[in-house]
Symmetry: C2
Subunit: 201 residues, 2 copies
């Protein structure tokens, strides 16, 4: 059985919920009480020493980090549609997983956590990071339907939630027409699930 250690308002958790749904994999949710500090309990730190959600437990195999969980699910359950066998598309996917782990996390995601939950951040730096990465992604999608290749991949799933949640960080995401068109393509994929706060047309 797959268990997802989850927090409903986390975009990182949503990456995993989205892929689990697209792959039609049954799973159970284990809610983590972040306000109560459960993520810093010895029990939880055993699963993830970084004290973050999500964590996936697949019959005792424990995986931390949303990008790594996408890799695991794609490789184990997704077939070649979700996990190409060639080095070049894999590397392109990996480059966007890095972007999700760094620029997306430190730009739009940080602005949101600041506005929504009051976390102290350097808003100027996060704003610059957001502007840069959103501009790059919008230009990248000018001539492409998906971040890598001809169909949705875990690159799209890793980058999508915090871009769709960007309005909660004060970003006018509607100004990025190619990103918005890509949102619509993602939302049309069978099995798509949303979460509260995501941009609506």
């Amino acid at each position: 059985m797959i268990t997802l250690y989850d927090m409903p308002l986390s975009g990182n958790c949503h990456k995993v919920r989205l892929l689990l749904s697209l792959l039609e994999l049954p799973y159970q949710i284990q809610a983590v009480d972040l306000r109560g500090g459960e993520q810093r309990s010895p029990d939880y730190l055993q699963r993830n020493p970084f004290g973050q959600v999500p964590v996936l437990d697949d019959d005792g195999l424990i995986i931390r980090d949303s990008q790594a969980i996408l890799v695991y699910l794609a490789k184990r359950y997704g077939g070649e549609t979700w996990w190409p066998d060639d080095a070049y598309p894999l590397a392109q996917i990996a480059s966007w997983l890095s972007t999700a782990a760094n620029e997306v996390a430190n730009g739009p995601a940080k602005l949101r956590v600041h506005l929504k939950f009051g976390s102290p951040i350097d808003t100027a730096v996060a704003g610059q990071t957001a502007d840069k990465v959103l501009g790059i992604i919008d230009r990248h999608l000018q001539s492409r339907d998906w971040l890598v290749g001809d169909s949705i991949s875990i690159a799209d799933i890793a980058v999508y939630p915090y871009l769709a949640l960007a309005p909660e960080g004060g970003i006018v995401i509607g100004a990025y027409a190619n990103i918005v068109a890509w949102f619509q393509r993602i939302r049309a994929v069978p099995g798509y699930v949303t979460m509260p706060g995501m941009w609506q047309a």
Copy 2:
């Protein structure tokens, strides 16, 4: 022919130089003049819209991002030693690639670029990020020789350079005994190459 768009003092470039050397792959260096702003030229931005080094060009296949380049080289040239076929070790490797892209980049690497090149940063935030990630890695290595599995992987190579360069950011890396022991194991791997500024016993 493999071409590495490189800057000698970049730890991100060193990840790639190290793996190329361990794999005994011939390659040529194309130095990028970061001080002169070459990374912002239209020509370079075509290769990497983020305007960063390294970039790899393998007979016309262009890959940006140091973690993605490690994935590419491991998968294409490394055999199963460097690119396991099972989902679980792959996911564990991916989790450390995220750590390299985020916490290592925003902790020890940022402190170094600040002290060495004068980049303005929030030193308190970078210091906290560095303390946390170094503590986690040191405890992780308490009972293990390598970050993932029983031999060196691209997880080690992605995390290593900015930890070995941490003294240039004012970090007393010698205080982390398990990390230092891991440094020694990495340095004993046939084909190991170093770069200026790395911690010495």
